[in-house]
């Protein structure tokens, strides 16, 4: 199914917008999401393990993506 992913800071520049859509099968994981993002224009320069937030919490590559969860791809944090 089509999932929307929030983008921020440098990654919003990389993909040319504040959200991007990817097609993912049911039961897809964070790793599947990263692979789909990497295949998009601009995605080739993502680091090997970018920070993905699922429902506003840090997610591990093997975590499944709940159907209604907010998805976000986060550049390396630089607050403070």
């Amino acid at each position: 199914m089509r999932r929307s992913v929030l983008l921020f800071a440098r990654y919003a520049e990389l993909f040319g917008g504040e959200t991007v859509s990817v097609d993912l099968p049911d039961g897809a994981t964070v790793a599947d999401l990263i692979a789909a993002l990497r295949a998009l224009p601009g995605g080739a320069s993502l680091p090997p393990q970018p920070f993905v937030a699922v429902a506003q919490a840090q997610a591990a590559p093997g975590d499944r993506l709940p159907l209604d969860a907010e998805l976000a791809l986060l550049p390396p944090l630089a607050g403070g």
């Binding site: 990389l14 601009g42 937030a53 506003q56 390396p76 944090l77 607050g79 403070g80």
Partner: protein, 146 residues
């Protein structure tokens, strides 16, 4: 609310956690520095994943207040800042100084490690870059990558 576009006010944050039984108040104020990785900095722009950043700040404060007998105030700026402006303030108030210092230090480290905030610096030479602690040079270029 822990994130704000308006300038931070140290005195009001101190007042918000001060009480007659808290005789120790430790503060950390992070200011915009005039240099980064050998380059002169004019100013910077903070952006955030707002809802998650607020949630992480609230969780960090709650965790610190559980670890130490302290009350914590935490505020982080968003938007454009110039050199010398306060970007982040942590205030920890406790009965005694040890808990106040320890909690204050722990909170600022947790903010840096956990809160989704990003920083785009503007340099004296007219260029800009994204601050990236994981990059060898400490920054990544702006704009679309090759």
């Amino acid at each position: 609310m822990h994130l704000q576009h308006d300038p931070l006010d140290l005195a009001s944050l101190v007042a918000s956690v001060s009480a007659p039984d808290r005789g120790a108040v430790a503060t950390f104020v992070g200011l915009v520095r005039d240099h980064h990785a050998g380059r002169g900095v004019l100013g910077l722009e903070y952006s955030a994943y707002g809802a998650m950043a607020e949630g992480r700040c609230t969780a960090i404060v709650a965790e610190a207040e559980e670890k130490w007998p302290a009350r914590i105030a935490l505020a982080h700026r968003l938007g454009g800042l110039t050199v010398g402006e306060a970007a982040v303030i942590v205030v920890a108030a406790s009965a005694h100084r040890e808990a106040a210092f320890d909690a204050c230090r722990w909170v600022i480290e947790a903010v840096k490690a956990q809160v989704p905030i990003w920083k785009r610096e503007r340099y004296l030479d007219g260029t800009e870059a994204w601050v990236d602690p994981t990059a060898p040079t400490g920054t990544m270029p702006t704009g679309v990558m090759p």
